[in-house]
């Protein structure tokens, strides 16, 4: 069934460095083997819409990169992240995360994919009835880690995100910035290859946002690839990292050390 779905992809087609669709200077010569994330002409059509949410998107992200995914609402950022997580499957095209062919991954292997990806959201998504430590430990418990490992790793990661001594607090006792730190700790505690952040600063004031960005940068320095969808101009402009801009489902810009956009 999956084969039939992708029957319209030419069989001899392989991902080639002919440039990303609609991209400007091709400053990231794609080296397939080093790519942690690779989208090959990915199109996603939703039944309810005639316009594709993603339209022949090809992007490669190398290990250790920090990428901003920008674009107006409805440009396809969320779909991009959902496809990487295999919350949904593309209508056409291939997606690779590390060595996993995400679109063709059998259901039972989806957990393996998700264990390699950490996720952070605008609304934190913490469990209100668990402590800070409990929230972070939960991510390890549910993938069957031993409690000895959990006892060792959780305090370490709380230190890393700057929440030392707050393991026993409840989420509602924390500020927004601290809650987001817990969420980041939870996403990072299993040492994922990739951290996906969907507007992680969307609910935070500029100063707190800056702190969160420093934290994400620190995590990036450990070798974790970070892909962050955002609308925050100032953050993108100040960080000067790779920027992939989507508009109407297409990649309209892909530049290293980019800014949010002139005149935007």
């Amino acid at each position: 069934m999956i084969d039939a779905k992708y029957a319209d992809v030419p069989s001899g087609w392989s991902w080639a460095p002919r440039g990303r669709v609609g991209c400007q200077p091709d400053v990231h010569p794609p080296v397939a083997s080093a790519s942690v994330i690779r989208l090959e002409r990915v199109t996603k059509l939703y039944k309810t819409s005639t316009r594709p949410a993603l339209d022949r998107v090809s992007v490669a992200v190398d290990k250790g990169e920090f990428v901003f995914l920008i674009g107006p609402s409805g440009s396809g950022k969320s779909t991009f992240l959902r496809l990487l997580l295999r919350e949904d499957v593309p209508t056409r095209g291939n997606i690779f995360v590390s060595d996993l062919n995400v679109a063709k991954l059998p259901r039972r292997r989806v957990p393996r994919l998700r264990q390699r990806i950490g996720c952070v959201f605008q609304d934190f998504r913490l469990l209100p009835n668990k402590t800070v430590g409990g929230n972070v430990a939960f991510a390890l418990e549910v993938i069957g880690k031993q409690s000895a490992t959990i006892k060792k790793v959780v305090p370490e990661v709380l230190d890393l995100v700057g929440l030392q001594g707050k393991a026993e607090r409840m989420p509602h006792e924390l500020s927004g910035g601290e809650q987001q730190r817990v969420a980041i700790a939870r996403a990072f505690v299993n040492r994922p290859l990739v951290l996906l952040a969907d507007e992680p600063t969307g609910n935070l004031d500029p100063d707190t946002s800056q702190d969160i960005m420093l934290l994400l940068e620190r995590i990036n320095r450990t070798g974790t690839t970070v892909v962050m969808a955002t609308h925050d101009h100032s953050i993108v402009d100040s960080m000067r990292r790779r920027v992939v801009e989507l508009d109407l489902g297409q990649v309209v810009r892909d530049e290293s050390r980019g800014v949010y956009g002139v005149g935007r």
Binding site: R125, L127, V142, S147
Partner: protein, 300 residues
Amino acid sequence: MRSDFVVREVVTGLRRNVTMTVAMVLTTAISLGLVGTGLLAVRTIDRTEQLYSDRVEVQVALTSDVSANDKDCSQPVCAGLKSTLENSPLVESVRFENQEQAYERYKELFAGQSLADLVRPQSLPATLRVRLSDQQAGADAVRQAMAGQVGVRNVIDQRDVVAKLFDFLGGVRNVTFALAMVQAVAALLLISNTVQVSAFTRRTEVGVMRLVGATRWYTQLPFLIEAVVTGVVGALIAVGGLLVGKFLFIDELLSGIVSNGVVPPIEVADIIWVSPILVMIGAGIAAVTGYVTLRLYVRL
């Protein structure tokens, strides 16, 4: 699989949905209690059949003149009938019961009741009590051979009487099973509903579990175990209900016919025999319903 994690999730789930859980347990208990009653009825029917297969006789009642004049079946009419019966290969044995003996038995049977005083020995017929070696063919053969013979008043097949008892017990069984089925549908819907509510109240947890890469088993098992626990608790309550029912109602209801040996009593051992069946049915139905619900209605 970390069992402590699963146990904790199950306990949390049950506690969070406590009213729903209680409703589910009670419905399951009533349903399984009825199933248990039906099973006990089946068991009693089997036992009763066994009890009667040794005892059931065909009685050939003799006319009043033969009854009155022949105390030991030595006269030609009775002796002729007796030897005819004894010569049949379908007959195991023939015993003669004269009026006096019949009267003794009658008094014994209706001891303490006014009916016992109304009857005189003369009003009871002497009988040839035929025990059959072939229960099926024998009764008809005896009936055919004896009906209309000189000295024979009528032929009574005790199985006709017993059949009425079996019909009654069979009716009890059918009614309880029918009620159990209706209750079981209610229990199924409740289990399904509870699993859905349980999954909904824990959607944040489940969402996080999916995102961090928990396997399907990890996400689903707590819900399944929750359903199974309620099924098992329901079954145990049903067993308790059967025990209470036995001591409070059934023993008293059946005391008369049990002491006369008409039906065997329902023992605690019978209920113990039924209980693992109920527990297995409860757990099995809950598990299957829970699993199907999770697959069909809940995105995990």
